[in-house]
């Protein structure tokens, strides 16, 4: 046997402070009416740093700082200068990408190979992409002289902490808005390092404000009457609550919520690549991906063959230390999330689906869940309907293309979908009928700053990325 020796990425590039304040008006400040909480490493349960929890007065200060910066500085600044700040930020991110990647893996639990090769390159690319828009907005198709919305309240999830920050902040700033961003309570650290990068780039004070905290902080922020725009990525339930809370106001709202994507494998699929796509679709980032291909719909006449290949491939997945360069699946982000994954998986077994995981040793400390598939799943099972947000795949079969489409669409969600077939016209036929905002054909989980991302139905509204992504931050 060929055993890979441990290949840990060094932690020494990250210089963590014992505690972090809120980033308001260009400075790190202590909370006035908030408390503090610890952010832990989900792979070891060690506390990484103490982080401030913003109270209502802190949120008030942050929104006021953003308003002032919008009215006095950023809203008036020529686009070409806003662009230069964004380019600066993009460059600093590239220069400090190893540091950011290691910190992301420490705080989030995701494998270093993903934070290094996926998250960070995309973060920098996002800032580069939107930097270039800042002085070209009149060509974006939203009128001759599109105006920013004002102050944007942005609440982001823990699955791609820095990438979601980039998706939110880059277009907002390019369009001339200022922001108050709340990172998730389990993954605040890279956002705070980003705040340092804003200082390093000499971004004018108040343009970016970062308030750390949990649900209450987020609620206070989105309900604050001083914000003009709310952008949220997270669960459909919270998205619904936010949509209710902005009802009757003038606040503009974009939501990027949950999903239960179908990954459809036809019998003429390029099997080996399809299996890679299935694995990438559900096990990328521990399955903590809103667009994960969590429902495999495989044509019945190739189901055995695909499953056999899939299981063989899953046995190669390396679960463990997120900082090991050879780790494929890292830690589950939190105890609470692990509990939810366990509960839904147990429901899958209880409802009669057949559960399988490859033999796999999990570390003693930290939050871990072995890659898992359920076969014999029907549309009625909870694991086929509810978003698990973990490394758990439900396998269903279909007989005809029409049945595949019907099953794929039979969900309140509509974020993404996958199609695997060698027949071009079948791809286009299927893609036309899928009610999903992103359709990956013969690939999966690909992202790019130029490519609009967002859902149909209860997966939310508005698009992030591309020219479309500007719309949410312009007064159109």
């Amino acid at each position: 046997m060929f055993e890979y020796a441990p290949a840990p990425e060094s932690r020494s590039v990250v210089d963590l402070k014992p505690s972090y304040g809120l980033f308001i008006d260009g400075e790190f400040v202590d909370p006035t009416d908030g408390g503090s909480f610890k952010s832990i490493n989900p792979a070891s349960e060690e506390a990484l740093a103490e982080v401030a929890e913003a109270g209502p007065q802190d949120v008030e200060r942050a929104v006021r700082a953003a308003r002032t910066a919008y009215e006095k500085v950023w809203g008036l600044m020529p686009g070409r200068d806003r662009a230069k700040y964004l380019f600066r930020i993009a460059r600093i991110i590239q220069e400090r990408s190893r540091e950011l990647a290691v910190l992301e893996s420490l705080d989030n639990g995701k494998p270093i190979k993903e934070s290094r090769d996926v998250d960070l390159p995309l973060v920098a690319a996002h800032f580069f992409y939107y930097a270039g828009w800042a002085d070209k907005l009149e060509h974006a198709g939203f009128g001759a002289d599109p105006k920013p919305v004002g102050v944007a309240a942005q609440v982001i999830p823990w699955n791609f902490p820095l990438l979601m920050l980039a998706w939110k902040i880059a277009p907002a700033l390019a369009a001339g808005n200022t922001v108050v961003l709340k990172p998730a309570e389990t993954t605040p650290l890279t956002a705070l390092l980003f705040a340092e990068i804003c200082q390093q780039a000499e971004l004018p004070a108040g343009v970016v404000n970062i308030v750390t905290g949990a649900g209450d902080t987020g609620r206070t922020l989105v309900e604050h009457p001083g914000v003009d725009k709310v952008a949220f990525t997270g669960s459909t339930d919270v998205g619904r609550a936010i949509a209710r809370s902005v009802a009757g106001t003038r606040k503009k709202l974009t939501l990027e919520l949950g999903g239960k994507a179908a990954n459809i494998v036809f019998d003429d699929a390029p099997i080996d690549q399809a299996v890679e796509g299935i694995v990438n679709g559900i096990f990328f980032n521990q399955g903590h991906v809103c667009c994960a291909g969590s429902r495999l719909l495989v044509q019945e006449n190739v189901a055995d063959r695909v499953l056999e290949s899939l299981k063989r491939r899953m046995a190669q997945l390396r679960v463990g230390d997120p900082l090991d360069k050879n780790t494929d699946i890292g830690a589950i982000n939190s105890a609470a999330q692990l509990e939810r994954i366990r509960e839904l998986s147990d429901a899958g077994s209880a409802e009669g689906a057949e559960r399988w995981s490859p033999p796999c040793e999990l570390p003693d400390r930290g939050f871990w869940f072995a890659p898992t598939i359920f076969t014999g799943v029907t549309q009625a099972h909870r694991i086929a309907r509810e978003e698990i947000f973990g490394p758990v795949l439900s396998v269903l079969t279909f007989r005809t293309p029409a049945e595949a489409v019907e099953k794929a669409n039979n969900t309140p969600y509509g974020l993404s979908a996958g199609i695997w077939t060698d027949k071009g016209s079948r791809i286009l036929w299927t893609a036309d009928r899928l009610r999903a905002g992103v359709v990956w054909a013969n690939t999966f989980n690909k992202f790019d700053p130029t490519s609009p991302f967002g859902g149909y139905k209860e997966s939310g509204y508005g698009r992030e990325g591309g020219r479309h992504g500007l719309e949410g931050y312009l007064n159109v």
Partner: protein, 319 residues
């Protein structure tokens, strides 16, 4: 072998009797998506193999090297020196394993055979009008018989790419069958010359064709065309031998050749073998590197691991 694979094997052995059956089978194989295959290969290339794993990999890679010289300027002196190096790659370190085989032109086989006799190092010879394969079948078979008679226990043949690309699969098949017969007990490695096959779909089809016709190994390249072995081509071939064994119970070896110049590359291939077909192929009997300059880099890296200091080309033989 199970009953199913036995019957599958006999069904598959029928395919070679008819052009139509062969074509239907080869064109019915699952397609290969180029972008997906290349991404998978690139991902495997990011594995970080350090310390003990690296030491293990280097020794394995040395044992898998088919130390090759295929030049018009080859002489008995040159190939004898190469054979000597194959036996003792690092004269300074007796713990260094010998390579898998020495690979030369048929005319050079007798000189190499003298040196290798009884050593356990195999003697491979390219035959069948290498590298173009553009000669009458009788001449190719004579070439093969001569190499075996002179002492080669492995024959590296080239397929007729012209016939393959023109869709004359049976002609290619029949040539392999005939060469296998001419090679007798010698192991037959079938060179697909993947750089000329243009698509991964063709690589998969040619792999199956070679295996169906009885090839013991499938090999990427002659080293004589601009594109030699690549990771994705090798991935597709590994998938083919994996699927072929699952279908028939017969294991076939894989040999990437040409362009593999350093330890880092070699380790990427070993990682790919490990994660695509597993431990059964991590053995010189089932995986080889067709290479010349690779060996010295492996030796330098090996010395670095054992002594802690970086060596230089002056400390290793040039042969």
């Amino acid at each position: 072998m199970t009953a199913t694979t036995t019957s599958a094997r006999s069904e598959l052995s029928e395919l070679g009797r008819s052009e139509t059956a062969l074509r239907t089978f080869l064109h019915g194989l699952p397609g290969v998506d180029q972008v997906g295959a290349e991404q998978r290969a690139a991902q495997l290339g990011t594995r970080s193999i350090k310390t003990t794993a690296k030491a293990q990999a280097i020794d394995l890679a040395i044992r898998m090297v088919d130390l090759t010289t295929l030049e018009g300027a080859d002489t008995p002196g040159k190939v004898r020196a190469l054979a000597a190096k194959a036996l003792r790659p690092d004269p300074a370190d007796p713990s260094c394993p010998h390579v898998g085989a020495v690979c030369v032109y048929p005319a050079m086989v007798p000189y190499v055979a003298e040196v290798l006799r009884g050593s356990g190092v195999h003697l491979a010879s390219v035959a069948t009008a290498f590298p173009s394969g553009q000669a009458p079948l009788e001449i190719k078979l004579a070439d093969t018989r001569a190499a075996v008679a002179a002492g080669a226990d492995e024959i590296d043949m080239v397929i007729n790419r012209g016939a393959f690309l023109a869709g004359r699969y049976k002609e290619v098949y029949d040539e392999i069958v005939a060469t296998k017969e001419a090679a007798g007990d010698a192991h037959l490695k079938v060179i697909l010359e993947t750089g000329e096959l243009a698509t991964y779909d063709n690589v998969r089809r040619a792999s199956w064709l070679a295996m169906l016709a009885g090839g013991d190994f499938i090999k990427t390249s002659t080293g004589k065309v601009p594109v030699a072995a690549t990771l994705p081509v090798t991935l597709v071939m590994l998938e083919a031998v994996r699927d072929f064994r699952a279908a028939t119970g017969r294991q076939v070896g894989v040999k990437p050749a040409g362009g593999i110049k350093n330890t880092k590359d070699a380790i990427k291939y070993l990682v790919m073998v490990n994660e695509t077909v597993g431990a059964d192929w991590l053995d010189p009997d089932w995986f080889r590197f067709g290479a010349s300059s690779l060996l010295n880099d492996l030796l330098m890296q090996r010395t670095k691991l054992t002594t802690g200091t970086y060596s230089g080309p002056d400390y290793f033989t040039l042969d």
